[in-house]
């Protein structure tokens, strides 16, 4: 069974008096272990699609199945648990809590999963070492460089062993060298078996992934394989 199955998904927003159809019938399947990029210009509905796939929102109509669970009518708490257990996020602006240390930031998803302190620390340390920041666990994010912060975010996204890692413009705030490093990290994780979805507007970055899905005006343009 596919990890993600979208059928006839629409999403309608109300902005003041105006109704906006952000998604107008998306059909999409993503298999376990894939490394996919979702690409599209701003206003294409790419962000809306990402919110649905990331369990941050529910569709207006159609069905979204993630790891066999239909989230179309899920409650807020169910969505939160999905995000906690099955999805890891990496954001453009890192979104680390600046008051917490690197270790505590990585521990955060496990705290909401109700894992004991001892196990949390072990797993967080392992994840941080996996992204190559084992010597910075007691620093705060503000003491790190952009590339390091993004690595911490990757470690945080990995730590609950999610089925799916979501990266929203992960290289947007990084220079090209560190950006390339982060992309290399994703590639490595994919080779170790993680399913990764990369959201970007940059086709150069999308070219790194074996499969790209292009969104335009709320529809999937051509699901095609990168050769």
């Amino acid at each position: 069974m596919a990890l993600i199955e979208l059928s006839e998904v629409t999403k309608r927003y109300r902005v003041g008096q105006q109704e906006i159809d952000a998604l107008r019938g998306i059909n999409l399947t993503i298999e376990e272990g894939e490394y996919v990029s979702i690409i599209g210009p701003s206003g294409s509905g790419k962000s809306t699609l990402m919110h649905l796939l990331g369990c941050l929102d529910t569709p207006t109509s159609g069905s979204v199945k993630i790891d066999g669970a239909d989230i179309s009518n899920a409650s807020d708490d169910e969505l939160a648990d999905m995000r906690n257990q099955k999805i890891g996020f990496v954001f453009q602006s890192f979104n680390l809590l600046s008051k917490l240390t690197v270790l505590e930031n990585v521990e955060l998803p496990m705290m909401y999963a109700g894992i004991t302190s001892k196990v949390r620390k072990e797993r967080a340390k392992a994840a941080i070492e996996r992204v190559g920041l084992g010597d910075r666990i007691n620093n705060t994010p503000l003491q790190l460089s952009g590339g390091q912060m993004q690595r911490v975010a990757v470690a945080r996204s990995l730590v609950n062993n999610p089925r799916l890692i979501f990266a929203d413009e992960p290289t947007g705030n990084l220079d090209s060298t560190t950006g390339a490093n982060v992309l290399a990290l994703f590639k490595e994780l994919n080779q170790q078996g993680s399913t990764i979805i990369l959201v970007t507007h940059d086709s150069e970055i999308a070219a790194n992934t074996p499969r790209r899905i292009e969104i335009r005006d709320g529809l999937v343009v051509t699901p095609k394989k990168n050769s």
């Binding site: 990331g54 939160a80 906690n84 257990q85 008051k99 955060l108 998803p109 909401y112």
Partner: protein, 440 residues
């Protein structure tokens, strides 16, 4: 996320904004301080009243006091002579359940001896006054029936009177000495025991000065002090010497005099009610059926002390708690502002899997911890405030901190802290992760 983690997160958040947190707490601190000091003040007043009651005799002492006549007897009111010495007489002769009774004539008096002057309260009484009021004669004798019959100018005085009139000879026992009471010479025939609290007695026996004279508290009202200032003279003497000053009523009542007080003591405290019924029916005769009197027992007084104490404490507490509520509103205000500031943090927590209740709990814990720390500091501030109150208030009973009041104030602060976080926590938990993340 378990509860301990939430508390740790809350404390960390408060710690990271120390100055702001202290300012927020200040409302709670001052609120708790004013609440607890109000409680201490009212508890002190209640304690003073209780102490006074115990020095003035047991529950078997009953006062007969005037009251408004019932509506249907208003036209009969002039037919009753009111409380007269005849009432005392009939109780003495006919009330079998009553062992002691005395009429009381009361008047402020000026006592002089050799140019030294002392003001006190003069009581013209029957000899029964002494057992009724738990007085003890230490030296000399009580006033007697012969003193009454002959209206002799004799008096029995308390130790404070002696202290004041013979300031240079502290150990004098002035039996047989003559003192001037309201310009008339009286012979001292008896001296009351020195009344004092157990603390003072112990202090005196160990050679120290009694606490009442070594601290600033000597300005406070002291029931023992008042009892030591007693001056009694025979009732009839009081009337022959001073009656023009207190002749009451519009009708000339001849030799039957109105009295200022009428007090009796029941034979058996367990049978207080039969004694009171007996006295009531006797007095209805002398008052010609007009119910213009009522029996005021110590029990009633004790109850009314407790009731008043409770009422004052409650209303004082209510007023003082307003400031605590204001403190709570301050917390709400700051929390709302801090949520706007932390909307991104909330978004991140939600994105990694925090449920709404986790966010709610986090904010509530924060405001509760502010209430908690504010409450603890407030208790400290209250003790400072109470010291200040003791120092500046004159003539009142010293404030007393009771454990229950402290616990109550502290719990109230905690609850206020919790409640003040409800609205901010609720609005924080309503923020959707998408809008929170877009915010940054």
């Amino acid at each position: 996320m378990n509860f301990l983690n939430s508390i740790a997160t809350g404390i960390r958040e408060i710690w990271s904004h120390k100055f702001r947190s202290i300012l927020t707490m200040l409302g709670v601190i001052l609120g708790v301080a004013s609440l607890l000091s109000t409680f201490a003040l009212t508890d002190g007043m209640a304690k003073g009243s209780r102490e006074m009651m115990t020095t003035m005799g047991g529950v078997e002492r009953v006062n007969i006091v005037p009251q408004e006549v019932p509506q249907d007897q208003v036209m009969l009111v002039d037919t009753s002579p009111g409380r007269t010495v005849a009432d005392a007489e009939i109780i003495r002769r006919s009330a079998t359940q009553v062992t002691h009774v005395t009429p009381v004539y009361e008047q402020p008096c000026t006592l002089t001896k050799g140019g030294v002057l002392f003001r006190s309260q003069l009581s013209g009484v029957w000899p029964d006054f002494v057992p009724i009021n738990n007085h003890v004669i230490a030296h000399g004798r009580n006033i007697s029936q012969i003193d009454l019959d002959e209206a002799r100018r004799v008096c029995v005085i308390g130790t404070k009177v002696i202290e004041q009139l013979w300031p240079d000879t502290p150990k004098i026992k002035p039996l047989g000495e003559t003192i001037i009471v309201n310009n008339r010479p009286f012979v001292v025939v008896g001296i009351f025991e020195h009344y004092e609290s157990d603390d003072d007695k112990i202090a005196r026996e160990y050679g120290r000065k009694p606490a009442a004279f070594t601290t600033r508290r000597n300005r406070y009202f002291n029931p023992y002090d008042r009892k030591n200032g007693t001056v009694i003279i025979p009732f009839d003497t009081a009337f022959y010497e001073f009656r023009s000053a207190s002749m009451a009523g519009v009708v000339d009542q001849g030799p039957i005099y109105k009295v200022d007080g009428l007090t009796f003591k029941a034979a058996d405290p367990a049978n207080l009610q039969p004694a009171m019924d007996q006295v009531s029916s006797l007095l209805l005769q002398t008052h010609r059926g007009v119910e213009d009197f009522t029996l005021d027992t110590r029990q009633d007084w004790a109850e009314s002390i407790e009731k008043n104490a409770r009422n004052i404490k409650l209303s004082g507490g209510l007023i003082a708690s307003i400031s605590l509520i204001v403190g709570g509103i301050g917390i709400t205000n700051i929390m709302l502002a801090s949520i706007t500031e932390r909307i991104r943090e909330i978004g991140i927590r939600r994105a990694v899997g925090a449920r709404r209740k986790h966010i709610f709990l986090q904010i509530i814990v924060e405001s509760t911890v502010i209430g908690l720390i504010g409450g603890i500091l407030g208790l400290g501030a209250a003790f400072g405030m109470i010291e200040l109150l003791e120092y500046i208030s004159e003539g009142a009973n010293p404030p007393v901190v009771e454990l229950s009041s402290a616990v109550l104030s502290f719990l109230f602060a905690l609850i206020i802290g919790m409640l003040s976080g409800v609205y901010p926590a609720w609005s924080a938990s309503r923020i959707t992760p998408i809008e929170a993340l877009r915010y940054g």
